[in-house]
């Protein structure tokens, strides 16, 4: 079980919970818009690295008001600088999934020295008119499941679509989505395409071949925009690849980070 630390950031207004486990070089994992989940994927990474998994502002158990303190995208980027400083991490490896990937890419683009290696799993952050990304919360749950899990009824889907009677889980996940939507809405393009050339860290872009939310065609755009990047497509996985195929995805990332 990971150790839990609660930090006091942003002049005391944001109190993220950081789960820490493993040993080895430091790796910071930024979670998706469904909120912080410590599952097999992170256990796998913790075999090779010291994994730090912070909760996004607003999503920690003691932090519902934290989201109100971060007004916009630039507040959020600065907030993550502050988080890395508070953890005493000079240039950790940064791994981000989905919304967390969008944040990780922006941190690496705006202050390249903060990131030694970067792994992005199906990140938001770019936009193509020929492959528009829908707003998840405007879709019925079965359609969301079809778009982000392969197959749609993958056992891990229970982690993000809890039983309706489990109101605590429904509240936690709905609120986490609201906290991510604050920065994704209405279009998840905050100008990264103008800044991604600044990323200096060797970068791995990982994409589920079946991703129906952010189609894999975006992987090529990330690769083209980042100097030192390569792409790994994961077969039989969709947008939630780290939950769907935890060992495979963790293995791909660990190999890259150790190389």
């Amino acid at each position: 079980m990971p150790e839990e630390r609660t930090l006091n950031l942003w002049h005391g207004a944001v109190k993220p919970t950081v789960k820490v486990a493993g040993s080895g070089a430091p790796l910071v994992f930024l979670h998706s818009g469904f909120g912080p989940l410590w599952e097999a994927f992170l256990d796998n990474l913790a075999r090779d690295f010291t994994v730090y998994a912070p909760s996004h502002p607003g999503t920690g158990p003691n932090d519902v008001d934290g989201i109100r303190a971060i007004d916009d995208w630039w507040d959020l980027v600065l907030y993550y600088y502050e988080l890395l400083d508070a953890l005493g991490l000079k240039a950790p490896m940064l791994v981000g999934h989905s919304f967390g990937g969008m944040v990780a890419a922006e941190v690496a683009a705006t202050d390249p020295a903060r990131v030694s290696k970067l792994a992005l799993i199906a990140p938001f952050g770019l936009w193509r008119d020929d492959a528009p990304i829908p707003l998840i919360s405007t879709l019925p749950t079965p359609e969301v499941a079809r778009r982000i899990f392969h197959p749609a009824d993958h056992p891990a889907s229970r982690l993000v679509f809890p039983n309706r009677n489990d109101t605590d889980a429904v509240i936690r996940i709905t609120w986490a989505q609201n906290c991510a939507n604050k920065f994704i809405w209405p279009i998840p393009d905050k100008g990264l395409k103008k800044r991604m050339h600044r990323i200096s860290a060797p970068t791995l872009i990982v994409w589920g071949a079946k991703d129906g939310l952010i189609p894999p065609v975006y992987a090529e755009d990330f690769k083209r925009g980042i100097k030192n990047a390569r792409v790994e497509i994961v077969d039989n996985a969709s947008h939630m690849a780290p939950l769907e195929r935890p060992e495979t995805v963790a293995g791909i990332i660990a190999r890259f980070l150790k190389s």
Binding site: I67, D71, S137, W175, N178, C179, W185
Partner: protein, 423 residues
């Protein structure tokens, strides 16, 4: 009491199988498949004629509202409507009720201060200033405002507008969302310090707080009728009492569908298919759109998830099979002969303790002639019986002052009112 005619300006000719073939009436109904701009031009002109006729017939007010990308509500700019209505009803004792410009999407919000100022001037001080928060469909999906900012933008816009109307000197506004170096709108409203403000809401505690704090009129705009609405309005009155405010019935506005005919049986013949059209097609919105927003704060979210009312979902399914009598029995529509409508509406008004009633007299696909009939029967046979309700005890502090001196007295007198040139 005051009774105003509300109009949504729906598309009146959606196909019979609309709700089976199409995803939604709002946000993404395909325009070129469904709509004809020539027809819509006709609807706008009918809508103006209907509202102006309502004014001539002595209705206390005429209401328009704002929706976007919506086949049942085609007034993306309520002020374009209100401007015409203000001009056309000059000389009449009718309030122009703008229900109204959606605050968080009107940027910068001094546009609301300016345009409402124009309408109040054109109308000679007869405007009611509605200040809606706006729906998730309009604000978050069509106009792209982040749900997390929705309410904050609303509160800031409200404060800016109120200050812009009353400030004697040019001021700078350094808000979180709006930054304006020199605010000094021309014109300002005739009504000082400001026109009456009505706040549409759907029963959330934060909107009650907001309306009470600013002493605005709280309006519950629901299409589910006075029986379903009673729980919300009772909750508001309880809130008013707990907060030590007076129980003035004019604090509350309420929207009710009303359909009057010669007899109860004729009402069913006249109106059933239009009522069906309204509930089947006009309210055909996917639940994800309504709940997509995340514009609630954490406490409201917890409250709404823990208290999901399964009855509402059930009702939505059930009403697909309702006969006309069921719509009437459940109070969704107050319909029938003038006597029936009088009785039911009086029960609703007294039961809800509502002083500023809005009646939807054009429903769904209703053609122009039938709408005129409904307006005439309502204003001649029903409305006069409601004139004195509440006024023995209470003053309507949320109504244009100039219209309170001599209440309108029905069709014969105000039919003389012709448009006069504004000063």
């Amino acid at each position: 009491m005051k009774i105003s005619m509300f109009h949504l300006m729906p598309y009146r000719d959606l196909p019979d199988d609309f709700e089976r073939r199409y995803h939604s009436v709002w946000v993404d109904p395909p325009y070129f498949e469904l709509a004809d701009s020539e027809k819509i031009g006709q609807y706008y002109n009918w809508t103006f004629d209907e509202l102006i006729h309502a004014a001539r017939c002595g209705m206390d007010g005429i209401c328009v509202n704002e929706h976007h990308q919506n086949a049942y509500g085609m007034m993306p700019s309520p002020d374009l409507m209100g401007s015409v209505l203000a001009r056309a009803t000059n000389g009449m004792k009718t309030a122009v009720v703008q229900m109204g410009m959606t605050l968080p999407t009107t940027v910068p919000p001094i546009r609301v201060a300016e345009e409402y100022g124009m309408i109040d001037c054109i109308s000679g001080g007869r405007m009611v200033a509605g200040m809606p928060l706006g729906t998730p469909m309009d604000v978050n999906l069509c106009y792209g405002i982040s749900p997390a900012e929705h309410r904050e933008r609303y509160y800031e816009a409200h404060d800016l507008i109120m200050k812009a109307w009353s400030a004697r000197e040019t001021f700078a506004w350094n808000g979180k969302y709006f930054k304006l170096p020199m605010v000094n709108p021309w014109p300002r409203p005739i009504q000082q310090p400001h026109p009456p403000v009505w706040i549409p809401g759907s029963g959330s505690l934060s909107t009650w707080d907001f309306a009470a704090k600013h002493d605005h009129c709280y309006c519950y705009l629901s299409y589910w009728g006075h029986h379903s609405g009673k729980q919300v309005v009772d909750g508001f009155w309880e809130f008013v009492s707990k907060n030590g405010l007076d129980p003035n019935p004019y604090r509350v506005g309420f929207l009710q569908l009303v359909a009057v005919s010669e007899s109860d049986a004729q009402a069913e013949k006249d109106y059933y298919r239009h009522v069906r059209y309204f509930y089947d097609k006009c309210l055909h919105v996917p639940p994800e759109y309504i709940s997509s927003s995340g514009n609630q704060d954490y406490r409201s979210l917890v409250n709404s998830i823990k208290n999901i009312n399964p009855e509402i979902g059930k009702l939505t399914e059930e009403l697909k099979h309702w006969k006309f009598s069921e719509f009437v029995k459940r109070g969704f529509v107050i319909a029938g002969s003038p006597a029936t409508v009088r009785d039911h509406l009086m029960d609703a008004v007294k039961g809800l303790r509502v002083g500023n009633l809005m009646v939807l007299l054009h429903i769904g696909s209703m053609p122009h002639d039938l709408t005129i009939k409904n307006i005439e029967l309502f204003s001649r046979e029903v409305m006069p019986h409601f004139r004195s309700v509440w006024d023995d005890q209470w003053e309507n502090r949320w109504w244009p002052k100039r219209l309170l001196d001599k209440p309108a007295t029905g069709v014969t007198r105000s039919a003389n009112g012709e448009a006069r040139a504004s000063k």
